[in-house]
Amino acid sequence: MSDEKNRLPDQSPIIEEPILEDIEEAEEGKMILDEERQEDIPADFQDEEMALDDARRIKSLSPGMLVFKRFIRNKLAVIGFAILVFMFTFAFLGPLFMPYEQDQYFTHVGYQSKDYAGAIYNTELRYTVADGEEFGSYERAQFLLALGKDNEIFSLGEDTHYIQTIADGTYRIIDLDKVAGELMRMGLTPEAGVTLPEGFEEAYFAAKDAGEESFEHDGVLYRISSEKKEIIISTEENIALASLNVFDPYNEEDLDVVDSFKFKLAGEEAIAAEMNEFTVENQSYEVQYDEGQITIFDAEGQPFAGVSEIIVNPLDKNEYLSFEFKSAIRQAIRDLKDRVVIPDADGTEVEYRIARVNANYYIRRQTPTALISIYELPSAEHPLGLDNNGMDNLTRLMYGGRISLMVGFVVVILEMIIGVIIGGVSGYFGGAVDTGLMRFVDLFNSIPFYPVVIIFGSVMDTLDVEPITRIFLLMAILGVLGWTGIARVVRGQILSLREQDFMVAAEATGIRTSRRIFRHLVPNVMPLLIVSATGSLGGIIITEATLGFLGLGVRFPLASWGSIINVASDPYVMTNFWFMWLPAGLLILLTVLGFNFVGDGLRDAFDPRMKR
């Protein structure tokens, strides 16, 4: 293999001991060059070159100091270094000054519209059944049939039921129990087994002559009805009440009274007659009429119940709707309003919205709820806004920076360990070992990087690896796939270094091979190693960020810069919330740029001859 990566280092051995001589030569070379091309070089460069070329100063500077001097003379490198210092401060010290945690989310009080109740103009009869009676769906059907045909009487088996119209839409269903009949005006014939009380006949005839439909005798009410040619006298028994009106008790505990048959009957009759008071079971009630809304007051003048044609029901059956609520809703519906504010039990004002769908009205309660503030715009408290989880973006960027930088360093160190061992062994021993190890390097080098990482990422996805473990696995994979470059650099260096005199001397002292490699050879490779490590750090950060962006890297609740930008893959976020992705992208760009500047500067500083 004679590719470029192998070749370049060979031409530029950096040796610790003879470094001073090298530098001197280099500076001389530079001077000649400078003189040749003075017109190309700005004045300030010339001055610096001349100053450093001063023989006295060169003697007084240590090799490390020389490197440092040359490094800080490189403007780009210094800028890069400043960027890196900033980034590390930002990521590692920044969180100490932030009042927020990385997984702390922020909420705001929002109004959530929740279906609370329904209302409808009552068009169906509602039945109230008298105590001890039955009026099921069959009976109701028969009743409605009779009502449809305008019949006053309908029969259910043996029984005959009579429909008494109290008012329009209010009916009383009565069971007629025949006590006597009069056929063709031929006198009363009592029903079998019935003894007519005394004075009954007189009372009947008096009523009949007066044309009344009912009469009372001995405290019992009798009804006169005719069927074909027969006049039937029967006692009546209340079965049920069918009405379009809805009775609502004012207080929840009065529900039983209000719902009772007797109360409703009396109430309906009073309302039908537009009477102002009625009495049920020795309790007197007062009725007040107020445009569509009828209110019943009890003896003490307290509101007792309301009567309306609008039904208001809670959606949650366990909820009890207060009378005020219902009447406010009814009022709003009658006034065609679409919102109404009603104080609830504690006196807090709650806003309700009324939406009409066909005949139904839906009452939505605007409930205040703690909502997670997502994509909140930057503000004083959150300089970069809140992210898709309602977390402070700036804080996330700091913690994300920790992970991004840490991944970069751990991976580089891993690459260096593997690279130095394999490259060192390969370069030192040469021959078959070298060939074998280099084929191994070629093999690893041939593995396509992204496909393998993507496959690993999806494997980790399906296995549901913990976020922390995931980071470690990610580091391991990146390290294992990336060490070949460093191994080649080290091998190339060592191949040339091992022929140097100091290695012959080391061999002559008879120290162990491992010591010769790792104590004498590898330290000489260090400068170049640092240069290539700095250069590859940027690449690793980009790789990690790319994986994060594709959703294959670091996972929530942990963050890395790449995974923070991940939200920008949603065009909606990309369009509307620049603060979600731009800062993270700039941080990555600056950091990588910083590493590349510093890497370049270091290379120039370590090896001035190869200045590029």
């Binding site: 470029e4 393998v452 993507i454 960020a545 790319t546 990555i588």
Partner: protein, 329 residues
């Protein structure tokens, strides 16, 4: 030279063999749920005469999933060398057919990028080297480093934000417009070309920096060498020195650098294509891989390995052609 090429070929075969084996081992560690799913699907087909279990067994044996990793690999390999890479699980057609459908999109994008990249970065690299440490040099270096430092996805996001969303010039995704099917052939080609603009710019911005710096480095190396000093000392014009003496020698490493670009040309730019959802080989294989499509993943990665080896051999041969000194050795 002949011996060298033969040795190089053997090495390439060796690497391809073991490289594919490593990939196969990785791929086999993918959960087998996808096979399960396909078996279930086929079993629920009313025309199917086999039960789910039978389908599962059949699929497993077709893809050598019922044996260990090593025998499975050899099973796969014996089919692969005969050109049978199986049927893609995700796309439902033979892998090679799908590959043939999509690879040309990637190829076109990469060829265009490559051309533009050469035209821009080589002259700039030479310029930077000639005026080392000048403002121009710093500007070009910073620009090149910025290009290298830009993550693909960030650049793509910015380009999309500016050109697709703010200016509305391009579509966010895809290779074809909404009315593609109702266009004439010529319009269709224009439409595809139009949709390739952003991906090409993205790829170009990212790759320009590398080539530019590489050109600059090599040019500097050449400019600092003795024969250039000799050429200048002879009194040759600067133009002749640069174009004839220096640039020709810079070409040697450049040629080898370019042959490394061959794999990416056919292998597609996986990340860029995914970001723009260009149905080239990169995006198609990305989708297949995250869905656990073993035949496709195996084919694609093996293809890349082989391609890399071929490009390395080509690089070596080119080296020998361009540089007579190599031929002697």
């Amino acid at each position: 030279m002949k011996n060298f090429i033969i040795r190089r070929l053997f090495l390439a075969i060796f690497i391809a063999f073991f490289g594919a084996m490593i990939i196969y081992t990785t791929v086999r560690s993918l959960p087998a749920s996808y096979v399960d799913q396909i078996a279930r699907q086929r079993a629920s087909n009313p025309l199917s005469t086999k039960s789910y279990q039978e389908w599962l067994e059949e699929l497993n044996s077709v893809y050598h999933l019922d044996v260990g990793i090593i025998p499975g690999y050899f099973g796969w390999l014996s089919n692969a060398v005969r050109g049978d890479f199986g049927e893609s699980w995700h796309y439902g057609i033979p892998v090679t057919e799908k590959f043939n459908q999509v690879v040309w999109y990637s190829f076109i994008i990469n060829i265009i990028t490559f051309g533009v990249q050469l035209v821009i970065s080589i002259p700039l690299g030479i310029l930077a080297a000639r005026k080392q440490y000048s403002r121009t040099d710093y500007a070009i270096t910073v620009f090149a480093l910025a290009g290298i430092s830009l993550p693909t996805f960030f650049l793509a996001t910015i380009l999309k934000y500016v050109f697709s969303i703010r200016l509305g010039w391009f579509d966010l995704y895809g290779l074809t417009g909404r009315f593609h099917t109702s266009m004439t052939d010529f319009q269709q080609i224009l439409d595809i070309g139009y949709h390739m603009i952003l991906p090409v710019i993205t790829l170009m911005m990212l790759s320009i920096g590398g080539l530019m710096r590489y050109t600059r480095t090599n040019m500097l190396e050449v400019l600092n060498s003795d024969y250039i000093r000799t050429a200048r000392a002879k009194g040759l014009s600067e133009k002749v020195v640069i174009n004839k003496h220096a640039f020709r020698n810079t070409l040697i490493p450049l040629v080898s650098y370019m042959s490394y670009l061959i794999p990416s040309m056919f292998g597609g730019a996986q990340i860029t294509e995914t970001l723009y959802q260009i149905p080239g080989i990169g995006y198609i294989s990305y989708t297949a891989m995250i869905r656990g499509d073993i035949p496709f993943a195996m084919f694609y990665t093996t293809f890349l390995i082989v391609l890399t080896q071929v490009s390395l051999i080509i690089a070596d041969i080119m080296y020998a052609i361009v540089d007579p000194r190599v031929r002697v050795n």
